[in-house]
Amino acid sequence: MSKAVRERERIVVRFAGDSGDGMQLTGDRFTSATAVLGNDLATLPDFPAEIRAPAGTVHGVSAFQIQFASNDITTPGDHADVLVAMNPAALKADLDKVGKGGVLILNEDSFTERNVQKAGYTADPLQDGTLDGYQVYKVPMTSITVRATEGIGIGKKESERAKNMFALGLVSWMFGRPTETTLNWLEKKFGSRQEIFDANVAAFKAGYNFGETTELFAESYKVEAAPQVPGTYRNIDGATALAWGLIAASERSGLPLFYASYPITPASELLHELSRHKNFGVVTIQAEDEIAAANIALGAAFSGQLAVTGTSGPGIDLKAETIGLAVIMELPMIIVDVQRAGPSTGMPTKTEQADLLLAMYGRHGESPLPIVSASTPAECFTAALEAARIAVRYRTPVILLSDTFIANSSEPWPIPEVESLPSIEPEFATPNGQDFLPYSRDEKLARPWAIPGTPGLVHRIGGLERQDGTGNISYDAANHELMTRLRQAKVDGIADDIPALEVEDPSGEAELLVLGWGSSLGTITAAVARARADGRSVATAHLRHLNPFPTNTGEIVRAYRKVLIPEMNMGQLAALIRARYLVDAASYSKVQGLPIFAEELEHEIARVLDE
């Protein structure tokens, strides 16, 4: 029986279940199949805050959202069109994330009285009208999976565990996803464990066939491939892209990559990924604490490595003194901050971009350093290369800002040619027969990078103020002022060495500029596209360098009657822009541990334009 296929331009699917239900894996596999089809896509995993929240409770719900489309999209979607809920808790936690009239695919087997209660419902939501207005499909996923895997020779527990593959099969059918990608992957993953492999394949096929054959689903959907620039693509998340960007920087500079870090959510992924690539000569050290990680990296920087330490906000607080030491030592070092919701421990698994002022000013004394930020998952790759380029060229610590949202989410990425990547020249100091001056400067005001082991360049550096040129300790008043101004001028001068800020203003007559940085890029692009579709003229610009700003930033923000800066913080970039350029930039702020939704920003744009 062949069924109706309906074309859709974009779809948002959300998989939700208990932490143990394998929803991240399901989402990840669905993403791969979607990417291979050539749809544009964006994903967002939503982990529970507690590692072992009680099963079946709302706290233990783990979800994965993907938006895919036949045209360019930039966010994982505000509201889901389809929610797959593996248990009542998942339904309870995520129903408000489904748009009105959306499709709910529920694992009927799990809606027992006990589970319904555990989820915090007082009555069965399948019966009491809670789901009125949605298209509800009740599918006994667990029992069909158990039946499909009979005779394979695995226990009931293990066969039940394959129900996520049933869900994947069903949703794959619904959206015409190819089955080979998943089957190939299953073979790679479980090929050596025959029974587990057989069970997963059986469950996946059962789900697919269930869609095809039952009367339950009247139609399936088709989302055409998005037009893409020719090239080879892959799907990539921000954490992997950042790790690979650092490896690329190591390859392009010839400097061994040296990563020291202390486990912290959500930056640990970086440590995990880099630890896997020792054949690139990558040294990874899990230090005893955040402060040690920074110091071990700084010691390695002194010794001529591409030294990196990665963490999240709480770790930046702890590393602050060492970062200041790197500033006065003028050694190249990258400090990655995968931002999360604060203050203090805050919400470790939730996103925020509230460390901008911390990166900018979070050290005692005048302690300037360059700040680079990534705006999308794939952009973490280029941002890492750029941070390395600046650190090495200017012999300075660089803070690289990412956040939970981009670290965890993914998008298709045209894989770059290695030769096209920028090359980085370390230019270590060599003896020239004269007395070595460790604090002499080149035309960019960078001091020589003289590494231990080099004859003729023996010198001492430290946290005490240096004398200009010789680098000897100096408490001289005029020298301190000179050195303070030199350190500032060096960082300011980087502005001449970075791309100008680009404005996108198709009509050329916008009166509003939406200025952003970091992971709100996707939201801004989507919201502005909608506003333009409504006939409004809006310009956008996005900052990748937060310190120093590109040289034309002032000119741009002054050119528009109104400037709106959306941020997942209380207006930190807005504060910097207002202070620096004396423009009346307005802040649109959201601090819920969630990305800003395109719809919310679209309303704000309309409001600002209409006021």
């Binding site: 090239g231 005893e288 040690a292 110091n295 990296a297 290695v418 231990p452």
Partner: protein, 347 residues
């Protein structure tokens, strides 16, 4: 990254024309006149040429405190870090550049208080660094507060009614975290100090050397019982591996007392077979017992090498892993990495 080197110790070669002068920087030391740090500096500068390692292959790393200045007076590469973090900085250097001879100079406040965590983890890992801890039992640079090694009841600016803190026993601490080389010496005994430095330099892995150092301004005389020539000869218990532990010109010895405790006893009243023979290469508990013979330097105390064993060196283990990964997976290929997993091509 340099090639794996099998020799983890810092003592390499002897043919050398190096002299003390090559290790002496043009910076004038600025410790208080009479400070024990001068004697240590002079001993270290005089000793370094013996290693046959050129100054440019040597790195001194220090933290904050009077001892922190040490780095500036050595004409080697040097890093004067922030308070307490020298072992971490040195770990980065030693792992990145295993061919260098890396030394850490720290104090009782820097190394045992604010930097305690880094010290114990460096010792645990057995990084190839040599740690000299100048113990003066006081905060000197901040002008006289009690330190984590100050004795109970110590009256200082911050403890006008006497300290109620129980002090660390640095040797016992190092042994407790399974340091592979643990020794103690005194600032003014050039010969003993040099011999301990020599042994430390030869050791593969982390060497921990506690140096009793007199702060003549804020804690003068804290170690007189051991430092003073006249008193020292009665109260220093010199440890020599394989030798019976006898001191006080042969008059006293260390023997196993009740419950297996080590105790000091008159030699004349002790069965010669009952005198403890020092075993530096044995279980750390033996050395631990020696570390607890005295409550502190105001009682007869051991000096010398307490413990010296071999364990894999941290940086070498890291280098071996890199090597093994290259052999197993082939040298990293960036293009292949970027294409790993599912890809698709748009024509």
């Amino acid at each position: 990254m340099s090639d794996v080197i099998e020799n983890g110790g810092t003592s390499r070669g002897d043919a050398s024309t190096l002299t003390k002068k090559e290790f002496t920087s043009d910076q004038e030391p600025r410790w208080c006149p009479g400070c024990g740090d001068y004697a240590i500096l002079s001993a270290v500068q005089a000793f370094m040429p013996e290693l046959g390692i050129e100054p440019h292959k040597t790195v001194f790393v220090s933290g904050i405190g009077c001892s922190g200045r040490f780095t500036y007076y050595m004409d080697t590469y040097g890093m004067h870090g922030i308070h307490g973090r020298a072992p971490a900085l040195a770990t980065g250097i030693a792992v990145a550049a295993p061919e260098l001879s890396v030394w850490v100079v720290t104090g009782d406040g820097d190394g045992l208080s604010i930097g305690g965590n880094h010290l114990i983890h460096a010792l645990r890992r057995n990084v190839d660094i040599k740690i000299l801890l100048f113990n003066n039992q006081i905060y000197g640079l901040t002008k006289g507060q009690y330190s984590p090694t100050s004795e109970e009841g110590k009256v200082t600016k911050s403890t006008p009614f006497g300290s109620v803190d129980h002090p660390f026993n640095p040797i016992a601490l190092a042994l407790g975290v399974e340091a592979t080389f643990v020794a103690r010496t005194v600032d003014n005994d050039r010969q003993h100090l040099t011999e301990v430095l020599r042994r430390a330099a030869q050791h593969k892995g982390t060497a921990f050397v506690e140096i009793y150092q007199n702060c003549n301004v804020f804690n003068d005389g804290a170690f007189d019982l051991l430092r003073d020539k006249a008193q020292g000869k009665h109260n220093q218990i010199r440890l020599e591996h394989g030798e019976p532990i006898v001191f006080d010109e042969g008059n006293r010895c260390v023997r196993v007392g009740e419950n297996g405790r080590y105790e000091i006893a008159p030699t004349a009243e002790t069965d010669p077979d009952g005198i403890v023979v020092h075993d530096a290469h044995g279980r750390p508990s033996l050395a631990f017992a020696l570390a607890h013979l005295s409550r502190g330097p105001d009682e007869p105390s051991c000096i010398g090498v307490f413990h010296e064993v071999e364990r894999p060196v941290y940086g070498q283990a890291i280098q071996h892993q890199l090597q093994a990964a290259k052999e197993r997976l082939g040298a990293g290929d960036l293009d292949a990495l970027l294409h790993v997993g599912d890809t698709w091509t748009v024509e």
